[in-house]
Symmetry: C2
Subunit: 340 residues, 2 copies
């Protein structure tokens, strides 16, 4: 029941603790014979070195942390998948923290990570995060950090992002090309980098268009019912928007729900395009045109770069700010159709 440790192995083998330690770590100073004996016994007893002891001793934990706003979201779960794939290659452990869009939680988590618990961390900010002292504190403590997706330019740290403004411009132009004249933009509240990027792309496309209608921007929340209410109001305006660009997956879903409820036909009366990483978007009624982010790759890249920092390798210039490209998938929710 009590865990075996080096001391027990050493006693059993009539060796010194240090010899056993070295043998297990394949030190060149140890004879093959001794290594074999030691390993055989370790194997037999299922010896597993105590990670806290070696972390304490070596000042490294073989652990990284990922701080996310939420996990019930295809984007973030795909990111996690990517992160984990790299961590597994490196035999690292992964701690996961969910802020639920709460700055205070984010702050507390970062505080807990400030003393050796992890060798590095990756973060995507909550939408209530307005200052970055908590991250600065970790940075100053010397912890390797990578930001991804929801990042900040106010901190000098590597970031992995996507081409939010460009792809949003493209998505909005796509709607314009389909004949839309009153396009609404739905996003989560806050001053998130992705929100402003996506909004900028939307505004730029409107600006560039002949129509130049007043932008219709609605800020949403993390709560489905609240968002449906916001969307209901938006769609009951007169004149009604003829398109919605949802900057976040769940808002596209909420839009569909409200349209079903109000009997608004997509794409006849309203065209919809939304950010989404769900395979199921193609199965919606009608199939949803989406902006797909390379979520898995974001996770892999962010984690790879984190390891480069941990291993004190030099970062290439483009690795300090890596921009991956999203893709617009045109489907039936934006097809040109007769109004019903």
């Amino acid at each position: 029941m009590d865990n075996i440790n080096l001391k027990m192995l050493a006693k059993e083998l009539n060796l010194a603790v240090s010899t056993v330690s070295r043998a297990l770590r394949d030190s060149y100073e140890i004879s093959q014979e001794t290594k074999d004996r030691v390993r055989a016994l370790a194997e037999k007893l299922g010896f597993q070195p105590n990670p806290h002891a070696s972390s304490l001793r070596q000042h490294k934990s073989k652990t990284i942390a990922v701080i996310l706003p939420e996990i019930e979201n295809n984007f973030f779960s795909q990111v996690m998948n990517g992160v984990e794939s790299i961590a597994q290659e490196k035999s690292y452990h992964v701690l996961i923290y969910l802020t639920h869009e709460d700055y205070n939680k984010e702050k507390n988590f970062l505080q807990l990570l400030r003393n050796g618990r992890v060798d590095g961390l990756m973060i995507s900010f909550s939408n209530t995060t307005a200052n970055f002292e908590h991250l600065e504190a970790c940075k100053n403590a010397g912890i390797p950090i990578v930001m991804f997706d929801r990042v900040s330019d106010k901190i000098d740290l590597p970031k992995i992002i996507t081409d939010d403004a460009e792809i949003s411009f493209e998505a909005t132009e796509h709607l314009l090309k389909k004949g839309c004249k009153r396009i609404a933009f739905l996003s989560i509240s806050g001053t998130l980098s992705i929100t402003s990027g996506r909004k900028a792309g939307y505004l730029k496309a409107l600006e560039k268009s002949k129509i130049k209608h007043t932008p219709l921007v609605a800020e949403c929340s993390p709560y489905d019912e609240q968002n449906r209410q916001t969307i209901r109001k938006l769609l009951q305006k007169n004149p009604r928007p003829d398109a919605i660009f949802a900057a976040v997956e769940k808002l596209a879903i909420n839009t569909y729900e409200v349209c079903n409820e109000l009997g608004i036909n997509i794409p006849g009366q309203l065209k919809v395009v939304g950010f989404s990483n769900s395979q199921a978007a193609a199965l919606f009624n009608p199939s949803l045109s989406t902006v797909v982010q390379p979520a898995y790759d974001i996770g892999r890249m962010a984690c790879s770069i984190l390891f480069k920092i941990i291993e004190k390798k030099m970062l290439l210039p483009n690795e300090k700010k890596l921009v991956l490209r999203s893709k617009l998938e045109e489907r039936c929710s934006t097809t040109r159709g007769h109004k019903l």
Copy 2:
């Protein structure tokens, strides 16, 4: 840059290390004045105790591990969300490990957890897991363990599951009631508890029905394209099944994809019901009838019970095997309709 530690605080305050340690942990033996002084300085310097040192000393890590087959799946991400909510209440850290349905990875992960890295662990088996020695080893090492969803009766450990057989019986009867006469059952391969439970419910419903057709069982894989191929073959049989019961979310999605491809009308030519925890199932074309599992609650319960074990509290008899109820959501993919 160098982290502050108790020794530095003690020196600065002209106190003994142990006094500082006790003050920070609010020991009753320390005077209020000293506590205040210590805390003020600790606060000022942003002191955070080294977790490895205290874990080593106290033989506890304030960390639990969750071992999952995958995360890109609404069921598991909701479970994670539930787990995390409890862990956060307890101020515990959460390590996540993804087996990707690979027994060897599962085995390696468990091995890494066998020496103090975590205070407890939760696991849902991979579908390639056929023996449980790896878990037994952890159990014998005295690590608190809870199994959830994909569990095994071969090990005497607390399990949180859902009423797979009952709800599958109900789902199959639902299809029968809608007039289906050749119902196929799609599940992932392996000897998973959930697979056999769901299959048993399906078989029992067929058995009980007047029709008693030969069961149509198709085993699928983790690979979308392979599964679509399996489903294609199934749907090109003559006579063709008139219903599919998908025991796992992604297989329902694959079914829709194949139907779109082959021009098979749902629910006209084929009715579909699938396990799914996706909010978006209601937006499918047609909306998908689903078996919804209480995933978030599974996560919360599993984690709560794990903490009861960690805290050495007695488990109530029903906490050793807790069965939560799933719910059948009837939607358009199973409405009675004229064949096209």
